[in-house]
């Protein structure tokens, strides 16, 4: 089967004045549809850079990235934004909800950009909030919710548009361990249900329990890829 995400010999160099910093040296990875991949590594290992490049937020210095048949590395900002809007959901460490919007509005935000009308948006967003266990919280502002609740809103927002791929950058980084488990359970459950592909970046080894494959990155290179054999 053809992989959904194909990363071929990607290299990323940051230039800071005269100094060059190699964030990614030479990384290749294929991800199949429905897979849950965990990228682990110490901070500064380049795992976030990898994620950003696959999401089209940064361009590789060299190498190719394909999602489906689309060369992400070649798209301009406008096209890559459009692509992201339709195919990719994002979950952030710091939740990144918009403070002036209520939970249901935050969840519906990606749909606004797709031009979905208000009524339909509200129904979809409400359904999604229910799915992450937040029914009754629709009208709350982010400031009126706990971290775990906020992240669940974040998950709902990432999933509401039913994207093919979901990126989660340290999704539990700001949460305590019991909440982390809660959030991960929900996230993985939803992704499995819809046969979506999930890429998680983390340095928390307990998170990697949920992945099909664990990719360890060190100093800009893939150190090893470990198949997770779960019962």
């Amino acid at each position: 089967m053809k992989p959904l995400i194909e990363v071929k010999n990607v290299r990323k160099i940051y230039r800071m004045g005269d100094e060059k910093e190699i964030a990614l040296d030479d990384v290749s990875l294929s991800v199949h549809k429905g897979e849950i991949i965990c990228l682990v590594g110490a901070s500064g290992s380049g795992k976030s850079t990898f994620l950003n490049m696959v999401a089209g937020l940064e361009k590789p210095t060299r190498g190719e990235i394909y999602i489906g048949d689309i060369p992400i590395h070649k798209l301009n900002e406008e096209k890559v934004t459009l692509f992201r809007q339709k195919n990719i959901g994002f979950i952030f460490q710091a939740f990144h909800l918009l403070p002036m919007l209520t939970a249901v509005e935050n969840v519906g935000l990606p749909l606004i950009f797709r031009g979905v009308d208000n009524k339909k948006r509200h129904i979809l967003a409400k359904k999604m909030l229910e799915d992450v266990g937040l029914s009754g919280y629709e009208k709350r502002k982010p400031s009126q919710m706990s971290g775990g609740q906020q992240q669940r809103v974040g998950i709902a927002r990432a999933l509401v548009g039913n994207p093919k791929i979901i990126f989660a950058d340290e999704p539990t980084g700001n949460l305590d361990s019991s909440t982390s488990v809660e959030v991960m359970e929900i996230m993985v459950k939803k992704v499995r249900e819809n046969n979506q592909t999930l890429l998680i970046v983390t340095h928390d080894p307990t998170i990697s329990e949920y992945a099909d494959r664990i990719v360890t990155i060190k100093d800009g290179n893939i150190l090893n890829i470990e198949e997770n054999k779960r019962g």
């Binding site: 950003n52 999401a55 937020l57 940064e58 900002e77 406008e78 934004t81 459009l82 992201r84 809007q85 339709k86 959901g89 994002f90 952030f92 710091a94 990144h96 918009l98 002036m100 919007l101 935000l109 990606p110 606004i112 950009f113 797709r114 031009g115 009308d117 208000n118 927002r157 990432a158 548009g161």
Partner: protein
Amino acid sequence: MNSRDLIQLAIRNLLRRKTRTFLAVIGVVVGTCAIIVMLSIGFGLSHNFEEQIASYGNLHLVNVYQGGGYVVGGYSDGKQAILDDKAIAAMERIKGVDAVSPRVEEYLTFGIDKHVASVSVIGMKPEVMQKFGFNLQEGRLLQPGDKYALVFGNQVPVMFYNPRETMYSSWSGEPKVDVITDKIIMTGDWEYGQKRRHGSEGEKINYKEYKAQGVGILANPNDESAYYVYMNIDTLKTIKEDLKRARKEIGPNQQGYQSAMVYVGDINDVQDVSDKIREMGFQTHSLSDWLEAMQDQAKMIQGILGGIGAISLLVAALGITNTMIMSIYERTKEIGIMKVIGANLGDIRRMFLLEAGMIGFLGGLAGVVLSFILSLLMNTVLSDLLSMMFGSIGVGGSTISIIPWWVAVGGLVFATAIGLISGYSPARRAMKLSALESLRNE
């Protein structure tokens, strides 16, 4: 992103920082208001000039005189343009001209019973009198077929007096005669009805006396028409001939008419029409010549006032730009989030442009409303105050400020445009923010 969501989001963002939005809006209100009110004073000034001049006479009227003028085309052989029927017909064809009538004038004396009055009589074509914009107080205007029918200027009936009494002893300002119902005698004899001062002239002239009938009185008591009597030009020409014979005057037969009156429907065309007639080789005179000069002056004052207003709107524009830039700094993270979760570049730009545009629009709207209120206050309270201080004499009119609808609409559009322009660069900046950079910004 559909426009309803866009607008909703923009409104929420504006409401989120109420104070700042409010201050930015106030800036635009003041700016818009300053421009509109300043311009309105200019319009008021210009209107007052117009009113003032209109009270001296008919602004639509161009008086045409024979001779004196130059002939465009380079003929300098002294050949004068002649104001004849051909010339009149040519004038009628000029664009903007509603009616033309040749004009003959003669100083005649009218007698009603024991009362007399000596007045200049203007002869004009009865069929076009209707088109000259005369307003009637009573009766009717001249009609085709009228011969000895007279239309009196508003002030003429008051001028009748009894010469056998001391001249103004019983002058009360009320007419002593009814020019429409009373029988009227018309003559060239200026001493008609008075005691003859025998021997003063030596030879007695036999003046003809004509029976005439008043048919109407004009309404305007202020303009020059108030002191004239109007009648059929052909009849008046006959009277002139008679007089000439009676007085045994010898003179070259004048070719054409002394003068003509041209009525222009739109005051704005008066200048063009005058120019064209001068090109034909005639002299013209109209109150519009005067008005034009005064209006130029009004425009200049208006320009200066408007400029002062424009400066305050410029300051308001800077305020909007500042507000928007501040708001982008504050919302850098938000912009990043939106970009990552799928906001198009255009959406981001539109969002910020719309916010800026709304500030402009709201400010403009409030500014227009406030301008109307201020204008009303100026026209009532301030104008009372002014007339109390300076007296109403000499103040051309009571209107200080006039806001034409197109200025109000223009002010609103302009304020909105200012908002959009001020917001353009911040919006671009927001659009170009790197999503990653903004998210790191914590």
